[in-house]
Subunit: 401 residues, 2 copies
């Protein structure tokens, strides 16, 4: 058996980001940049006013001075000309400072009287002026390559005058449920069969991680049908299988696709829930074989599949983010397999996070898995811990999990 | 001026969730249930084995007993018959327990010899059996109404045999940028003009919150064109405007749409960045008017628009989630307006979050806003704080912001 971290490292080191494509700015949200985004203009493009007020020559705008108002320049309507001695120009926030001016007197420090304005607070050179390029200058790197684009990044790329962005293509992830006993929701269920939940949960997880799921038809435990999957995944970036339970986990998939050139490692992972994991290459397509049990499948997907997709979308390889919390109940000593206890989260009396494992951790209980707000990570052979002890957790209550 | 929390309360109390629609299970991820999801079957449907091994009558399967193996029942292929005295049935994890059996002997505790199996550890009634309905029973509420569906919820709904789910319709949010000086990225920029960043940033934010953005063409500061917007927003759930700066913020929008029946509150909010905010109703369409400044627009969108969309998608009204962090640098006393300092996040030496405001907080610096990992919330008239003091923050480095 190999540890969770070793299995993850092997998987992530075998994967590469998808190639780049060009997408409209409006569709680039949540995608990952494949090239740096440089500013195509300078912002602000000229010196502009930071306030509503008057552009002046600071030498003129002394306390008590009266200046002649030569016009107004709303933002977007720059005044053409050169501000002369004894003159002032009405400005608003964002208005371009006219040539000749070197200061701003804010509205509150003036008395307007027809074409004249009285100064009640002396101007200072440069005061209330936003200099050209204060936000960014043409050529600046606004966004580096390898950044997942949030709403603010989209705004920044727009401000930098980019109608298109170069991002990594969404990875296409084929999802294959196998097993004689599997029925799709709403379809006839064979005697002793169960309704497929893995494919749909995994497809949603793929979406949450930034991939495009392609759910393949369920394949019964049939060698020829399994072999044909090798053709169905042409053009995919990854094939994810969940083993049927009617034959030894993964055995038939491994054997049938082996005949189609699958190069695979089959690992027993020292973890619970979930233990057998396959990883390899089916020609150019990476393949990840998850357990058939729905809870094990989900836990393994969170530990291995989501980080794998994260690499495919263009982000650096990394384990799932963890954080600290305090136990709301004691936990027993752990055996030799890393455990992932399904747990609830609450705020403790000290304002910190308190995590309480469900009393029953049966891997057949999908409802408990769906209701869990966190997984408590228990290392192999970890000692018993009392209520209040600090533990490492993976939060499940965000990120679409 | 009114406080941020009062403005938000007024906005959220005026909004209602969108009506329900039916969507395929595969498209329900991240949507919010509009009705409880009841289990349509019992899981497991029958008593099943929790292990690989043999179904037995526990009275027979004593230490040293030899039982006759009458067949095998892979998962998905239940055995038909009644297990008799002295008989055993080969089972696998998930296999249905045959009638007549009341115990399981796990594989490791047996010696198989042709049609016979020797027992090396006595069976106990009920041991290693998952009872029918252990996960859920037909009729159980698997998911309540008003739940945002994560990947695990999709799996649970599938397991409950639901090919369709009843969810709230995605709210359609019209986004209108106004102003003579606004150009779309890649299009000709008028003299003194700027490239529109608000519309795209807000559209991405709407997506992140679960809405469908509809970006309207930019409207210049023209009364007739603004009045026509009232027709363009028919069928929308909300209109979000960002004011041009060339005329008093919001003035022209308020006046032109007022002539089309806009019932509105215009508020000065005691906050920075951002101050003027509009909220009201244009017939059946809620309207939110954000500041034109890109940083102010984004901060106000995070404080008001995202919570508004959250109500529209079917979740309970709530402020943006906040958490505690320690200051990485001192901050000065605050004036009478709540401030929202753009800041970086790091892990402090104690493993806790350390938040450090950017030295320069100019509301014209969109790049700083895009690079910020958090907003530090500074209450009106909050005292100066030293490095290391605890502050409340809104994280920006997740949730697609």
């Amino acid at each position: 058996m190999i540890p969770v971290s070793e299995a993850r490292t092997r998987i992530l080191s075998a994967l590469h980001p998808t190639p780049a494509e060009i997408v409209p700015l409006a569709e680039a949200w949540n995608r990952v940049t494949a090239a740096p985004v440089h500013a195509r203009l300078t912002q602000p493009p000229r010196d502009v006013s930071a306030m509503d007020g008057y552009a002046v020559r600071a030498d003129d705008a002394t306390l008590g001075a009266r200046l002649r108002v030569v016009g107004a320049a709303p933002a977007g309507h720059p005044w053409v000309g050169v501000l002369g001695a004894g003159e002032a120009l009405r400005l608003f926030t964002g208005s371009v400072l006219p040539d000749g001016a070197d200061g701003i007197v804010i509205q509150e420090d003036t008395n307007r009287d027809g074409d004249w304005v009285g100064i009640t607070e002396a101007a200072a050179v440069g005061r209330h002026i936003r200099r050209a390029g204060q936000d960014f200058a043409a050529g600046d790197v606004l966004l580096p390559a390898g950044k997942r684009l949030g709403a603010r990044d989209i705004g920044l790329a727009a401000a930098g005058n980019h109608p298109w962005l170069t991002v990594h293509r969404r990875p296409r992830i084929a999802i294959l449920a196998t097993g004689d006993e599997i029925a799709m929701p709403g379809e006839p269920i064979p005697a002793g069969g169960i309704v497929s939940s893995n494919s749909h949960a995994l497809a949603a997880l793929v979406r949450a991680a930034g991939g495009d799921p392609v759910v393949l038809p369920v394949v019964a435990d049939d060698r020829a049908a399994l072999m044909a999957v090798a053709d169905a995944v042409a053009g995919m970036d990854m094939l994810v299988t969940t083993g049927g339970a009617s034959v030894g986990e993964h055995d038939l998939v491994q054997e049938a696709l082996g005949a189609r050139g699958l190069k695979i490692d089959f690992w027993q992972i020292a973890m619970r829930p979930g233990k057998p994991l396959m990883f390899g290459q089916l020609g150019p397509v990476a393949m990840l074989g998850l357990p058939g049990n729905p809870v094990s499948s989900l836990v393994c997907a969170i530990l291995f599949l989501v980080p794998a997709i994260t690499v495919l979308v263009g982000l650096p390889p990394a384990p799932p983010p963890t954080m600290q919390a305090r136990l709301g109940a004691s936990v027993p000593a752990n055996d030799h397999r890393a455990d992932h206890l399904r747990a609830t989260l609450a705020l403790g009396s000290d304002g910190g996070l308190m995590v309480t494992p469900f009393p029953r951790q049966d891997s057949a209980m999908l409802r408990t898995m769906a209701q869990a707000a966190a997984l408590v990570l228990r290392a192999p052979n970890a000692p018993a811990l009392a209520e209040g002890a600090a533990v490492e957790i993976i939060r499940l209550d965000s990120a679409g999990l």
